[in-house]
């Protein structure tokens, strides 16, 4: 009995040490990627290429999800608010929930699903095909060449996607409210303008900066350390998407508690 409890304690300690080690390794990975971005040679074209991949190519899915999010918010908000006779506040409900919470979180999750998973798969494939070691053999720093531009591109692009998400969501909520719920358009817009403050917008954008780093960082880290053939790439991609989604949601709570 005593042996067993000692064993359990040992197991717990071992897991703890491994977790702390992983966390430290991930932090060093991020710090190295950020530092290498500011040293020569600057990878300007890689930066553009990744900005295009993460930004332009995510635009359609971000618009699609935000349109439906805005519409469902208007619909649900109307159903809840009409009971108190305050359906005039639907606009403020849609706009506040989008700018403060849903736009940063859902845009980050969409980018994770579309671009984060692609980052992991690409880097994972390069890792198992020994291309990353080949880069190193050619005296090209793989972190500087592969990871830094992706992180910086994500930071430049994800906040803009978040702003587009908010705007498209509010717009589609407006269209639904006016066309289907027969609400007054002017009232909707004035309740949007009255309720949303600059601090709401800036809080959402600040969140999206953090999410951008998380998405590119975790995606690249899992890909960079993939091992075990094609199956390993699949496992790494799944792990990266799950880990990023969980960390985005947890850090969203923490930031909401600290920011607002």
């Amino acid at each position: 009995m005593r042996m067993q409890s000692l064993q359990m304690l040992g197991w717990l300690g071992r897991r703890g040490l491994i977790a702390a080690g992983n966390l430290g390794q991930m932090t060093l990975f991020l710090l190295r990627a950020v530092r290498r971005f500011f040293t020569r040679p600057f990878r300007a074209f890689e930066l553009l290429e990744h900005a295009r991949f993460i930004g332009n190519r995510s635009l359609s899915i971000v618009c699609l999800t935000s349109a439906f999010t805005g519409m469902v918010l208007a619909l649900q908000g109307y159903n809840a608010l009409v009971r108190f006779g305050s359906e005039a506040k639907v606009g403020s409900l849609v706009a506040l929930s989008l700018t403060r919470e849903l736009a940063p979180v859902l845009a980050a999750l969409m980018v994770t699903a579309r671009a984060g998973s692609a980052i992991t798969a690409t880097l994972g494939n390069m890792r198992i095909a020994d291309q990353i070691d080949a880069l190193r053999a050619m005296a090209v720093d793989p972190i500087q060449y592969l990871v830094s531009p992706r992180i910086v591109a994500a930071v430049a692009v994800v906040p803009l996607l978040t702003a587009i998400f908010s705007l498209v969501g509010i717009g589609s909520g407006y269209l639904l409210a006016v066309s289907m719920l027969r609400l007054d358009g002017g009232q909707f817009l004035s309740s949007v303008r009255d309720s949303v403050e600059w601090s709401d917008v800036s809080g959402g954008i600040q969140k999206s900066f953090v999410f951008a780093v998380l998405v590119a960082w975790l995606g690249a880290y899992y890909g960079f350390h993939a091992r075990g053939g094609a199956k390993g790439v699949g496992v790494a991609t799944t792990e990266a998407v799950v880990a990023t989604s969980v960390v985005v949601l947890v850090s969203d709570y923490v930031m909401t508690a600290l920011l607002f």
Binding site: A44, L48, L59, D194, W198
Partner: protein, 174 residues
């Protein structure tokens, strides 16, 4: 960096995306979020209230229903709530302007309503408004209405003489 057509295409696409994103961000901040990039010229006057209710900094100041500024701060001074009202430069207010705390409907937001007086002198930067009306406490009003006068100010008449308040009314049939 070489100038192959492929590069310029990527550059143009990313540039277009950045323009779109920045435009969305700017519209969201300025038009919806109310960020003041070119802050309008404002001057500050102070007003002290017995109670400001749930007035918060940033609440609108209205004159004849039109927004002319916003509340800059609410602080306690000499057991009164001292507010600093930031008002647009173009609007001159007479010295005997009355400031009152109002709310937009029963559940609406609180704001400061200004009623200009007839004085020939105008308020200057930092001046103190002396005529103010405190916030109306809706629950207090309801209590007065529901429980009659006696709740708010005790009746001076002896309880026994008040009709209908006799604990043991005489039987009208006797």
């Amino acid at each position: 960096m070489s100038q192959s057509p492929n590069h310029t295409k990527t550059e143009i696409l990313v540039g277009a995306f950045m323009m779109l994103g920045i435009a969305a961000l700017a519209y969201l901040s300025v038009s919806i979020g109310g960020l003041e990039v070119l802050a309008p010229e404002r001057y500050v006057v102070r007003a002290r209230f017995e109670s400001v209710g749930d007035l918060k900094p940033g609440a609108p100041i209205r004159l004849a229903g039109v927004k002319i500024g916003q509340v800059a701060s609410v602080e306690l001074k000499d057991y009164l709530a001292e507010t600093r009202l930031a008002i647009g430069r173009g609007i001159q207010l007479p010295k005997d302007t009355v400031a009152s705390i109002r709310s937009e409907g029963l559940l609406g937001d609180t704001y400061v309503a200004l009623t200009p007086g007839g004085s020939l002198e105008n308020l200057r930067e930092g001046a103190l408004l002396t005529h103010t009306e405190p916030a109306i406490d809706v629950s207090d009003l309801l209590a007065r209405y529901a429980f009659g006068k006696s709740q708010a100010e005790p009746s001076k008449e002896p309880a026994g003489e008040a009709p209908g308040k006799d604990p043991f009314p005489k039987d009208p049939l006797q």
